[in-house]
Symmetry: C2
Subunit: 436 residues, 2 copies
């Protein structure tokens, strides 16, 4: 028979067990912190109706969609978790309790040209909170508080949650007389990390921004000092635009609440250069950098939007949300050597019967270990001791418990620590307690 070559499409991350265990640990940690803050689980379909999913989309996004017909249905795979959230909230409005806090950690699809570190199928880990008509400013501080706890627990080293407010930016540019080109100016400023100040000035000039205004813009976004000093500088900078003042006030309150949430001062920084490309952010915006790995870019971004569901309903539902691009983050952390995926098994101990006559004792010992809440495996194949030990070694299982005639007769196991090589005779019912 002709064989088909087993393979997958480029741009899809498929992991070996060792990496999958490390990935799942990361995903579980994020889920645990999200849930500990009261965010509710959500799991929407991967396939949505195209007219619903693409109510807003256009341009680049639309080109990347996996879209197809099935029977009479025009279908698309979701390209993010925000549009499905908007659809869900509009559809189930009467059945939800507001403010509605939900998380979703699931895969999304974008048919991009595959390139290093870019994926066509990838996990996003999103939290959002949606209010009706209004949503208190304290939620703007809860988002970075959750992210602070997530990255502390993930333990990938020092990180900085950068925070800004679009009202500060929009107000400032209005005052300069460029309120018409805010979106374009912000798009250029957004690139400052990547292309540098000189190139930003050039692009601003091409846009028609005067040289003196460009200077003001750059010195504005370059305001330095502690968080409190930045707030003081903003208050003292002479801009009297109302939106600007509102934004500064919000920023001050949000960082105050962040301190109340217990976010340590050296883990967040006001950064006036952050605009976030997306059109719909209207207030607080965030990015998160790993301090020792700036080339990774922002590993977690988000912000406040005025109206999530405008394509589906006339209700006004403001919200705030933040997203971790989990697949990309995992890939980058691997590249930077920050993922140590040493474990190729979830079992703490491999129980090894010397020969089939000891299988019953081995299965009994395994049952006792599991009842004590520890994970374990039994080696079932009737083979010599060498392949049995090799199996434990290859999977990195830390202990092996051998059962021969003497052990079976006395209800014990010979427990071997695979790292130190130490051995001791242990009663089967005490085995679980010996596994560190």
């Amino acid at each position: 028979m002709d064989k088909v070559q087993p393979r997958i499409l480029p741009g899809f991350m498929e992991l070996l067990p060792e990496d999958q265990i490390a990935f799942n640990k990361m995903r579980d940690t994020i889920r645990e912190v999200y849930e500990s803050f009261g965010f509710l689980p959500q799991d929407t379909p991967v396939i949505e109706l195209s007219d619903v999913l693409l109510a807003k989309a256009g341009g680049e996004t639309e080109k990347q969609i996996y879209r197809f017909m099935k029977g009479d249905n025009d279908l698309s795979l979701r390209f993010d978790l925000t549009v499905p959230l908007a659809r869900y909230v509009a559809q189930h409005f009467g059945e939800l309790t507001f403010p509605f806090k939900r998380y979703q950690i699931n895969k999304v699809y974008r048919g991009e040209r595959p390139q290093k570190g870019r994926f066509r199928e990838f996990y996003q880990a999103d939290i959002d909170c949606i209010g009706v008509d209004e949503l208190d400013l304290i939620y703007d501080a809860e988002m970075p508080a959750v992210i602070y706890n997530v990255f502390k627990k993930l333990d990938f080293g020092a990180f900085t949650i950068r925070i800004n407010n679009r009202k500060v930016l929009n107000g400032f540019f209005s005052e300069l007389g460029y309120s018409e080109s805010i979106a374009d100016i912000l798009r250029i400023i957004d690139k400052i990390e990547k292309i540098g100040a000189d190139s930003v000035k050039e692009e601003l000039a091409e846009l028609g921004v005067s040289a003196s205004a460009a200077e003001k813009i750059l010195s504005f976004i370059g305001i330095t000092g502690s968080n409190d000093e930045k707030i003081a500088a903003l208050k003292a900078c002479g801009v009297e635009n109302e939106l600007f003042l509102e934004g500064v006030d919000e920023l001050e309150k949000v960082i105050g609440f962040m301190r109340d949430f217990g976010v340590e001062e050296n883990y967040f920084a006001i950064d006036l250069s952050i605009a976030r490309g997306l059109d719909y952010y209207t207030g607080t915006v965030y990015e998160t950098m790993l301090n020792d790995h700036p080339s990774m870019g922002s590993v977690c971004s988000g912000g406040r939007y005025d109206n999530l569901t405008e394509y589906y309903t006339n209700k006004k539902l403001p919200g705030i949300g933040i997203s971790i691009g989990l697949t990309r983050l995992f890939y980058q952390l691997k590249e930077e050597g920050l993922i140590k995926s040493g474990e190729a098994s979830l079992a703490k101990v491999l129980i090894v019967p010397m020969n089939p006559a000891h299988m019953s004792s081995a299965l009994n010992a395994a049952r006792l270990v599991r009842e004590a809440g520890k994970y374990c495996e039994v080696y079932y194949q009737d083979k010599g001791m060498k392949p049995k030990m090799k199996y434990a070694n290859k999977l990195g299982i830390p202990y092996v418990a051998i059962i021969g005639d003497d052990e079976a007769a006395s209800g014990s196991v010979m427990l071997k620590n695979m790292e130190s090589g130490e051995q001791e005779l242990v009663k089967a019912e005490d085995l679980a307690g010996k596994l560190l």
Copy 2:
């Protein structure tokens, strides 16, 4: 602006938070038991290349596939987790440790006509174990041992794991002289629960099976008694076909191992009527019934197959696997009233500041609760006490901790048990310990 009606395609299960919490509990329990037996996590792409995914498929399966072009790529959404497993094992053969034990709990896609209880997107929760050239018979007992532990923990009442062996069936029909029509006869027998013995006889007659043979077949599959009595009856029934005898021997050994695994006798039963429709099962086969809900049919099925990866490689990789159709099971359990989804929140306590001046104390109390490993929420909106209590009630949060002037001054909360109505003053640092 014209609004798009927010909706999803029929046949897709989307849950409200209350049900999602119950669903996730079920999924987490299954994962925990799978992992406790040493099964490794797997997460393959939803989208596969059509020529790879459909190497074997045909007929009904092929018609149901979500298949589409993207650029030059002919793509399909996976319709089960077994074909991706075969592809994965063949593709990563050199990087895996065998016997390879993996689980995958993920969504699969079938474009069926939507009907009650049938889904186009649904979760499967699979475990499989793959050997190279051979795989010990004890794995045939591990599968039902895992399933026994899963359904014990899920706690949906009494259940029976029905077990049979295809060699017993195949040998028996060869002896009767119907080895050519085994597949057809098995397909008819497989329906005995649904259509009854008389209709089975009619269909067998249409197939050309003599009336006396049909009687023998029905009395054979109707052998009664305890598991040991059934084995004894099979040994004594006079069939001398070699495959038959091998099957009986396997069945006897497997139920012996199941007892060693601690599977209680009243949770499994040899059932000679079970054939499993799929062509590729070659040895042990299983179905699982909830005793008090026979109309649900089998909630967990599987068996042994000789060669998983024959479409991708010349290696001989026998395996055994079992699958829980999670979405359908959840739907059925809801219908039967076996899912009690009372919790609409994961938070144990809602911390309520009387007014914004107490927010800092509330956030501090929340931090202490989370640090103690309990989930909690703070009510952030500046509203009256009534909407605050209503929020806790609607979400079914069991405790509310109120902070006013006195509590804030003394670092305490007024803890209210929402069920009993009892109140007590509790130090913020002792709050977590008070939550049952």
